[in-house]
């Protein structure tokens, strides 16, 4: 649990810039940012590659495959997420934050942290399917275009976060 002191950007400035990126995306392409959709597209193409019959028959994968004019991997969000990896790496390089390490609360072992990370990721992905998007796609982009879905999802995510935070405080403080 290494503690880094590298300075981050002023959060309001970062938020303003993030807002401009989101605005640019909507202005040019008509759609906002996203992340969880790229995972879904990848899973769809992996499953339909390994077990095409199973995928075509599945009530979840089936329509997704049938709707696609192109391969699911050729999806907008997959390309965007590849961009995220590149952009974040460049940022880490510039600000000297590259390096293999894990982060967590001061009272927690790496193995426990990893176990909870897998559980958290799985829950996040399941929730994102129900809500048709995660913090980026549903909450942030949804709020920017003033969709009711965006605000409902945002309130549900952060509201529940505060409700359960107390019970998992050992993980973080």
């Amino acid at each position: 649990m290494e503690h880094r002191t590298t300075k981050y950007m002023n959060p309001y400035l970062a938020g303003f810039l993030l807002g401009l990126v989101l605005l640019g995306s909507i202005f040019i392409t008509g759609r906002g940012l996203g992340a969880s959709g790229a995972i879904k597209d990848t899973i769809v193409s992996v499953v339909s590659g390994i077990a095409p019959e199973h995928a075509a028959e599945s009530p979840y994968y089936g329509p997704l495959i049938a709707d696609q004019e192109h391969s699911p991997m050729k999806s907008w969000l997959v390309f965007e997420l590849i961009g995220v990896l590149i952009g974040a790496f460049v940022s880490g390089l510039i600000s000297d934050r590259l390096g293999f390490r894990s982060e967590g609360g001061p009272r927690i072992q790496n193995k426990t942290r990893w176990m909870f990370a897998v559980m958290g990721g799985a829950l996040f992905a399941i929730g994102a399917q129900f809500a048709r998007g995660c913090t980026s796609g549903a909450a942030l982009s949804g709020m920017a275009v003033l969709s009711t879905a965006g605000f409902v999802t945002m309130l549900a995510i952060f509201g529940t976060g505060y409700l359960v935070a107390f019970f998992f405080r050992r993980l973080w403080i």
Binding site: L23, G30, R31, P59, A88, A117, G121, A156
Partner: protein, 395 residues
């Protein structure tokens, strides 16, 4: 006018744009500190509210930008993707994500920006993401019914709350700024190393005042469509701007002549249009003249666009909308459709002043030809209603 997808940006070019937008997205996420799970989790324990600051600033910036671009007529706000609402799935899904956030310390986008700089816990989180989608998809039949329940479509939050868009935008700005102030106060009490301790008050308060002023501005901005529609029906505007007219006889002559460089645009409602329409006329109501899909049609300068309506004044309004949108070579059918019907299409022509022989002869032959053309068009199956091309999106 944006958005530029699906037209004129192609599918392949759009993927390149996706990559570039992703790079900018990832860069800002990492610079903001979203690559640190401890920083993200700080939101829920009060020691670091960076997430709230970045998230709300971004939402307010993008929202304000969309409203301003829409006002300036640079962005077609009706063509952008509005994520549809499935109420209970959104609430339950959001709640599951909330628990996932506390356990995992990341959300999907931030986990990728963290993994890019070598965070091992982020890699485990990403593994969990793939696992979660797979489990969800394999068990889909168990919750399929719930997944599609309480669908409301692409509703907007200000409509849900019964507010105007400008007032809601202003309210959101006020809420965001209050949240910034309150959370900074909490943060300083909870943590000795709170990020807000480093903020200088002056630039931050200037930014806050500017944002409130921008919010006040947003209240008073109507969108371009309502602005133009209000303007073209105002008497001063009509007095100041000239309108070009076309007489019923001239239009009849051009129809018979089958002139290719003419396009009749009928602005009546579709019920009236379906019961009677001039040959070759297109039905576009005044509200829909703004739609991007007609751009190609109206932009053809050598084609005269003849606007017809039941009342001449409606056609004049349409004329000035198109004029305002920058299109040229327009004309209004003088006297509206009733005069055309009376002069050209109907048998009984009791004129106060006897018509010139040539005119009478022309009208008689025109009556026969045009009525035949109208009859022919009626035989044709009704055109399939074209749905406007929508932008795809969502997660």
């Amino acid at each position: 006018m944006g958005p530029f997808v699906p037209d004129p940006i192609s599918f392949e070019l759009n993927l390149v744009i996706a990559l570039l937008i992703g790079i900018a997205f990832g860069f800002v996420l990492e610079q903001a500190g979203f690559s640190s799970s401890r920083k993200l989790a700080g939101l829920f324990y009060g020691y670091d509210f960076t997430v709230l600051r970045v998230f709300f600033s971004a939402a307010v910036t993008a929202m304000g930008g969309i409203l301003l671009l829409g006002f300036a007529g640079l962005l077609d706000t009706e063509a952008i993707y509005i994520n549809p609402l499935w109420l209970w799935p959104a609430v339950v899904g959001g709640a599951i994500m909330g628990v996932g956030f506390i356990l995992g310390g990341y959300c999907p986008g931030t986990s990728f920006s963290a993994a890019a700089i070598g965070k091992i816990d982020a890699l485990f989180f990403i593994g969990g993401l793939f696992l979660g989608v797979f489990v969800f998809a394999e068990m889909f039949p168990a919750w399929e019914e719930f997944y599609y329940s309480s669908a409301f479509g692409p509703v907007r939050v200000f409509d849900t709350l019964g507010l105007s868009i400008g007032w809601f935008a202003f309210l959101l700005i006020v809420i965001a700024l209050s949240a910034f102030a309150v959370t900074s106060w909490i943060e300083k009490r909870v943590s000795a190393s709170a990020p807000s301790r480093q903020f200088r008050l002056r630039p931050h308060s200037i930014a806050a005042v500017a944002t409130v002023l921008a919010g006040v501005l947003l209240i008073s901005l109507p969108d371009r469509k309502s602005r133009v529609l209000a303007m073209v029906t105002a008497a001063e505007h009509l007095a100041a701007c000239e309108t070009a007219f076309m007489t019923a006889d001239e239009l009849a002559f051009r129809i018979i002549d089958r002139e290719p460089n003419i396009q009749i645009v009928d602005v009546r409602d579709s019920a009236a249009f379906n019961s009677f329409a001039l040959p070759g006329a297109m039905n576009i109501q005044v509200r829909n003249l703004f739609d991007k899909e007609w751009n190609r049609l109206f932009a053809r300068r050598h084609v005269k666009k003849v606007l017809v309506a039941e009342h001449e004044s409606d056609a004049i309004a349409a004329y000035h909308v198109l004029d305002e949108l920058g299109y040229s070579n327009l004309a209004v059918l003088q006297g509206g459709l009733p005069l055309f019907k009376q002069d050209i299409l109907s048998e009984s022509t009791h004129e106060a002043v006897p018509l010139h022989e040539d005119v009478a002869e022309f009208r008689m032959s025109a009556r026969e030809t045009i009525n035949k053309l109208i009859e022919q068009e009626r035989q044709k199956p009704p055109a399939v209603e074209k749905k406007p091309k929508k932008v795809i999106g969502g997660c």
